[in-house]
C-alpha cells in the first residue's frame, strides 16, 4: 500500500538533514508501528508523506498504491487515500466542524470523479460515526478544534478518518494526552476501520496504545532512519528497557 524507499529529507530553509534514508513498506491490511526517541524524525516523515511545505526531498521515493506521492499536492494525496491524524490538530476559528467535514468529504469525492454526498446522507453518516466516538452535537457545531480538550481533538481526528475512509492511515502520537477511556475510544475507532484493503502506520511512544491496536510490525526510528524492525515483541522490549539497548546494539 505505502512504499517508502531510501527517503531523504532536509529542511527547506536550513541545511539540516532530518530523514537520512528511510525504507518502509506497509502492506494493505497491516498495522505497522513506528517508535523512537523524540526528534528522530517520525513527525517529519508523516508530514512529508502528506505534503506539508517547508521540507525538501533530497532523495528516494514514496508511493501509495503505486502512485508517486511526492509529486502530488497535499489535497491530491488525501484524495488518493492518504490520511494523517495530526500530533497537534490545528484550531480553525470561524470554520464550523460540520462545514469542514462536508467540504473535505465532497472535495475528495469530486477529485475522484464520484458524486457528492447529499446533505441528508452526510448528516446521517456523521451523526452515527460521531456517536461511536462519543462526540456530541455541540462539538460538531463548534469551529474546528476550537475550545476542544486534548482528547476531543484526537477523537475529532479519528472522526475525520472514519468519514474519509482513507486507504492508508498515519496516526502521529494519537495517544499522547489521552486518558485511558479516551484511548480506548480512539483505539476502538481505529480498529473499526481495520480492513483488508487498508494500511495503518501508528507512531507512538507507548506500548499502551499497541495493547489496543495490535501491530503486525514494529519499527524503531532513530536519527532519521529506521534502525530496527521486528514483531510486536519489539514494542514490549522498548517498553521495558527504553531505547538505549537497541541504539547501543546498532551503534
Amino acid at each position: 500500500m505505502l512504499e517508502i524507499k531510501n527517503l531523504q529529507v532536509k529542511l527547506e530553509e536550513e541545511d539540516k538533514q532530518i530523514l537520512k534514508g528511510v525504507d518502509l513498506t506497509v502492506e494493505a491490511g497491516k498495522v505497522h508501528a513506528i517508535m523512537g526517541p523524540n526528534g528522530s524524525g517520525k513527525s517529519t516523515l508523516s508530514y512529508v508523506l502528506s505534503g506539508k511545505g517547508g521540507y525538501e526531498v533530497t532523495g528516494g521515493e514514496a508511493t501509495l498504491a503505486g502512485e508517486d506521492l511526492l509529486d502530488m499536492e497535499a489535497e491530491e494525496r488525501a484524495a488518493a487515500g492518504l490520511f494523517l491524524a495530526f500530533q497537534y490538530p490545528v484550531e480553525i476559528p470561524g470554520v464550523g466542524n460540520m462545514t469542514f467535514l462536508r467540504t473535505a468529504v465532497n472535495s475528495q469525492r469530486k477529485a475522484r470523479g464520484e458524486e457528492e454526498m447529499s446533505a441528508a446522507d452526510f448528516l446521517k453518516l456523521v451523526r452515527a460515526k460521531a456517536k461511536d466516538l462519543k462526540i456530541d452535537a455541540d462539538m460538531l457545531k463548534r469551529p474546528v478544534n476550537v475550545g476542544f480538550s486534548g482528547g476531543e481533538k484526537k477523537r475529532n481526528e479519528i472522526l475525520q478518518m472514519a468519514m474519509l475512509e482513507p486507504k492508508m492511515c498515519i496516526l502521529d502520537e494519537t495517544d499522547s494526552g489521552l486518558d485511558v477511556d479516551a484511548m480506548k475510544l480512539v483505539a476502538d475507532g481505529v480498529n473499526a476501520l481495520r480492513d483488508e484493503g487498508r494500511g495503518f502506520l501508528v507512531i507512538t511512544h507507548y506500548q499502551r496504545l499497541l495493547d489496543h491496536i495490535k501491530p503486525d510490525v514494529v519499527h524503531i526510528m532513530a536519527a532519521g532512519r529506521i534502525v530496527k524492525t521486528g514483531g510486536p515483541e519489539l514494542a514490549l522490549e522498548v517498553e521495558k528497557n527504553g531505547y538505549s539497548d537497541i541504539l547501543a546494539e546498532i551503534a
Binding site: S50, G51, K52, G53, E73, A74, E75, R77, A78, A79, F83, L84, F86, P89, V90, I92, P93, G94, V95, T99, F100, T103, A104, V105, S107, Q108, A111, P143, Q160, L164
Partner: protein
C-alpha cells in the same frame, strides 16, 4: 473663519457645481450647512484626518466615470421579507419601491417639500455635533445639498426591515442622499442598505435613538468596481439604547465610511463592525469615532479587511471617554489579512480617556494566511483555493458575528463566499 487658502478654490468649485434645494423645513439647516462647509473647506490631502486616504476624487467638482456592473444574481437580501425603498443614481424610484406605509413606523422623503416636519429638529443637527473635535466637511456638504433621502420615525416594532436599495445605472451619476432615523423609546428597527448607488455617492445617515430604543443596521456597498463613496453615520444613543451597525464592502475603488457615535445616556450599547474584501484597485477606509459621555455604556468596534493584489485598507478608530463616563467598556479591534505582499493595511487606533474607572482595549494586527491551518485543510482533501476561502471567511467571521439576526449573518457570509470564489488567484 475662512477656510485655509488651499481649500477655498476646490470647495467653491464644488459648491458652484451643485444646486441648493430650496423651500420647506430643511432650508435653514441647508443654509447653515452651506456656511459651515465654506468656512471649513472640503478635505485636502494634507489634512491629518485624510493622511491615508486621498480625498480628491470625493471632493472634486468633476465625477470620475464608473462603469455599471450588472449581474443576474439574486439581489442582496432578496429572500427576505422587507420594505423596499429604491433609489436609482440617487433618484427615488416609486415603481420599484414598496408602499411606504408600515405599522410601527412612518417614512417620508426629504425631497417632499413640507413646511413642518419632525425631522427639522434632527436634520443636520447630529452631523453638526459630529464636527467636534474633528471636522467632517463632506457630511456638511451633504446636509446642504442632499437631493433626497428617507425620514423614518420609528414608534413601534415594524414587522419587517426597511431596505434602502441603491441602484447604479449611469456611468456619471453623482448622488447625495441624507437620511434621518428617529427611534422612539422602546421602538426597534432593522435598517438594511445595499447597492453601489452611483458613480460617486455621498451619503449621510443621522440616527437619534431614544432611551431604550434599538436600531440594527446592516449594509453592503455593492460590487461595482469603479464606484466611489463617502458615507457618514451620526448616531446619538439614549439610556439603555442599542445601536448595531455592520457593513460589508467588496470592490469599489474608493470608499470612506465614517461613523460617529455619541453615547449620551447610561447603560447603552453601540457596536460597529465591518468586513471588507478588496482585490486590486481598491481603497477602503473605516474611520470611527465613539464618544462615551454617560455611565456604564459598552462600545465595540470590530473591523476586518481582506486585501490582495495591491488593495489598501485603512482604519482610523477612536474611543473618547469623557470625565464622567465611568464604568465604560470600550473594545476596538482592527485586523487585516494580506493575501500577498503588494497589499497594505494602515491603522491608527486611538484611545483618549478622562475617566478613571473604565475598561478599554484596542488592538490592530496585519497577517497572512496561517500555513498550518491551510495545510490541515488541504491534508483532508480540500483544494488550496477552497481552503484559503474557508480561512478568509473564518477571518471575517468575528466581524460578521456582530450582526444580531442569524438570517442576515448567513446572507453576508454566503455573499462573501461567492465573492471569494469569483476572486481566486488560481
Amino acid at each position: 473663519m475662512a477656510a485655509p487658502q488651499v481649500k477655498q478654490g476646490p470647495t467653491q468649485a464644488r459648491v458652484d457645481a451643485l444646486e441648493l434645494p430650496t423651500g420647506g423645513w430643511s432650508t435653514p439647516a441647508r443654509q447653515d450647512a452651506l456656511a459651515r462647509v465654506q468656512a471649513m473647506g472640503l478635505p485636502h490631502a494634507r489634512d491629518e484626518y485624510w493622511k491615508y486616504t486621498k480625498p480628491a476624487s470625493l471632493v472634486d467638482a468633476a465625477v470620475i466615470l464608473a462603469a455599471v456592473y450588472s449581474t443576474d444574481e439574486t439581489p442582496m437580501f432578496g429572500d427576505m421579507d422587507r420594505l423596499k425603498v429604491v433609489f436609482v443614481d440617487g433618484v427615488f424610484d416609486a415603481d420599484a419601491s414598496d408602499d411606504l406605509a408600515l405599522e410601527g413606523i412612518s417614512i417620508d422623503r426629504l425631497a417632499d417639500v413640507k413646511d413642518i416636519h419632525w425631522a427639522k429638529d434632527l436634520y443636520g443637527v447630529l452631523e453638526a455635533r459630529g464636527q467636534d473635535p474633528v471636522e467632517r466637511p463632506l457630511a456638511t456638504l451633504n446636509t446642504a445639498f442632499a437631493t433626497d433621502g428617507v425620514l423614518i420615525h420609528v414608534t413601534g416594532t415594524p414587522s419587517k426591515p426597511v431596505n434602502l436599495i441603491y441602484r447604479h445605472d449611469s456611468e456619471t451619476s453623482d448622488a447625495m442622499l441624507h437620511h434621518v432615523i428617529k427611534v422612539d423609546s422602546g421602538a426597534v428597527l432593522t435598517l438594511l442598505e445595499n447597492g453601489p448607488a452611483a458613480a460617486r455617492f455621498n451619503k449621510c445617515l443621522e440616527a437619534d435613538i431614544a432611551d431604550g430604543g434599538t436600531l440594527h443596521h446592516v449594509r453592503t456597498q455593492g460590487r461595482d468596481h469603479e464606484r466611489r463613496a463617502a458615507t457618514h453615520i451620526f448616531a446619538r444613543l439614549g439610556a439603555q439604547s442599542t445601536f448595531k451597525s455592520f457593513t460589508l464592502t467588496v470592490n469599489g475603488v474608493m470608499t470612506r465610511n465614517e461613523c460617529v457615535i455619541e453615547l449620551t445616556g447610561d447603560d447603552a450599547f453601540a457596536h460597529v463592525a465591518g468586513a471588507c474584501m478588496g482585490d486590486g484597485d481598491f481603497h477602503h477606509d473605516d474611520t470611527i469615532f465613539v464618544t462615551h459621555d454617560a455611565v456604564n455604556c459598552e462600545s465595540r468596534q470590530v473591523f476586518k479587511k481582506v486585501l490582495r493584489n495591491g488593495a489598501t485598507g485603512v482604519f482610523q478608530g477612536k474611543i473618547l471617554v469623557k470625565p464622567d463616563a465611568q464604568k465604560t467598556d470600550g473594545y476596538q479591534i482592527s485586523q487585516s489579512l494580506l493575501l500577498d505582499e503588494d497589499s497594505q493595511f494602515l491603522a491608527k487606533p486611538e484611545l483618549e480617556i478622562y475617566a478613571d474607572d473604565v475598561a478599554c482595549s484596542h488592538g490592530s494586527t496585519s497577517g497572512a494566511i496561517d500555513d498550518d491551518a491551510l495545510f490541515y485543510l488541504q491534508s483532508r482533501g480540500i483544494p488550496h483555493s477552497i481552503a484559503q476561502d474557508l480561512l478568509v471567511l473564518s477571518f471575517i467571521a468575528e466581524a460578521v458575528d456582530e450582526i444580531e439576526a442569524e438570517a442576515l449573518r448567513e446572507e453576508i457570509l454566503s455573499r462573501s463566499e461567492a465573492w471569494l470564489s469569483r476572486h481566486r488567484n488560481d
